[in-house]
Symmetry: C2
Subunit: 352 residues, 2 copies
Amino acid sequence: MKKIFFTPGPSQLFHTVPDHIKEGINKDIFSISHRSLEFKKIYEACVYKLKAFLEIPENYNISFLSSANEIWERIIHNLIIDSSTHLVNGAFSKKFHDFAIMNKINATEYFYDKVEYDVDEIEEDELIAITLNETSRGIMCDSNKISSIRKKLSNSLIALDCVSGIPSIPFNISDVDTFYFSVQKCFGLPSGLGVWIYNDRCLEKNKNISTKKITGTYHSLENLHKKSEKFQTPETPNVLAIFLLSKVLDDMIKIGKDRIVRETNYKSALLYNTIQNHNLLSEYIKDKSIQSKTVIVSKTKKESKYFIESLKNKNLIIGNGYGSIQNQIRIANFPSHSKESVELLCDELTKL
Amino acid sequence: MKKIFFTPGPSQLFHTVPDHIKEGINKDIFSISHRSLEFKKIYEACVYKLKAFLEIPENYNISFLSSANEIWERIIHNLIIDSSTHLVNGAFSKKFHDFAIMNKINATEYFYDKVEYDVDEIEEDELIAITLNETSRGIMCDSNKISSIRKKLSNSLIALDCVSGIPSIPFNISDVDTFYFSVQKCFGLPSGLGVWIYNDRCLEKNKNISTKKITGTYHSLENLHKKSEKFQTPETPNVLAIFLLSKVLDDMIKIGKDRIVRETNYKSALLYNTIQNHNLLSEYIKDKSIQSKTVIVSKTKKESKYFIESLKNKNLIIGNGYGSIQNQIRIANFPSHSKESVELLCDELTKL
């Protein structure tokens, strides 16, 4: 049996990816000029499908960067002058906050130790950073919570980190001004592409900021946006990744976002159920309302290595706890993980 | 016949690339964690082979970024406080200069209109930026010239842009403190990876600068270097590109750098000869000592479209003049272009 990767990203490739890569090679996509009409058509198609699939409203724009790390840095340079507020509930939301501090931004972090945040305590700021799905600890942000933050803080820009959330965890796009993801999580693609979506309010704010501080060079929001309007990138981009994203979007559009969400819910219920009923496992996040549907984190009563190695022998690859965290395992539940593969994983977990 | 791409990058894939991608898919390389031992081994092997193949001295280090554009920005943030000197002879060297200006660096540009620069006129500065091969105009910098700049300016950091030069155009690495390239040119790979090589003097200078200004976040030189020492990248990188670079290095090491340089010279002589003997073509750069061996630029007496379209009908894809330049064609001569394919191109050019 071929290995199945349940690691939280890079993860299992979406099953159509090998064929799409072959098609890309056969059609010379990786040799064409990034200034050619042919590339512009690929770019345009990818953006069009992203907008259709994710139901992105008209006043939102899309640019391609290299990683979510890069997008954090570009948001800080392009959308914040003095201060930002970060709802921190794990290593990635913390990192965004730390990047802001490194850039001399007066960045406030809320509730590092609690898993939930209380909307009432959050005040208006230049930018509020929220994480749809905190990959490090498996914590999800409910879409109603995002809506209530939007409602309370109408003057702030709201940025939503959707790295391991889109398209499996729904939220109302109009509740946020900017959101972003990288393709090696729920889109099941090789890593090396970050997708940044921003609305006209972001562009407006950026115009103001550009006169006050250095917002970057080739990847300033102004430059990114100017190029994106011509279906181009400022630099020679990861053409392969943009092509693959466009092709996988075709596949996902055929399946339908609703079905992807439904199957995500079903598979996550299976996984949490297996963990609950296991003598050696217990859910790391107890509160059902914030348990991640895409990155399932379990505490282990035996060394996590026991589970990781035992499953590896069955060609099932799961993740360890984030960073140096011991006695935890993490299991990804992305669209590339079929119901059958999750059922198989649950069966094998149960035997341990 | 399959198309052959002589465009100056992205260009023809190195002939082994499709097989390497297949191997990557079969071995699940694009699913493994970028924090896994398996990835670290790929990273380490890639760096080891780069050092062996390019004969990089001990005191030089290697980090992986996204593009040469990014490396320009990181050099400006990490190696320059106040001022830099740019030997500008085309659009790309000009762009690096402009990036410095955007970052409020007092950046001097030398000899924009001339094709050659006179070493005597260049003064010591924090950083001297030279371009080994200016892709936009097909101008090469002779290695002796770089040596004489190094000799004259011992207190400056010297940065060499090797984007479309390495490994086809030789130079003495110890003459420069930092150099960089992207993989879609001479390495015949899909775009989306920049390779930055810097010596200990750069690290020393960076230590000083870090206390004085913001040098970045995830891709500050300090952070890049710290991670590279553990064979890792700060962010989830373009794993596919690092894997492919490592595999193509195996192939190129087997061929040998000397043979690659020899064949580059032979093929460029063929191309320039064809242009010289053509009624409708003439070399854009007349001075043999600075004619690029890897990007051959020709003026055209008929519209460049005539040549581009006629050759396209024969499945030979060549480039237009850079940007909006009319009546020019550009032909890449990279290791991925076999002698036979260049001979074929020359034959077809001669018929026009």
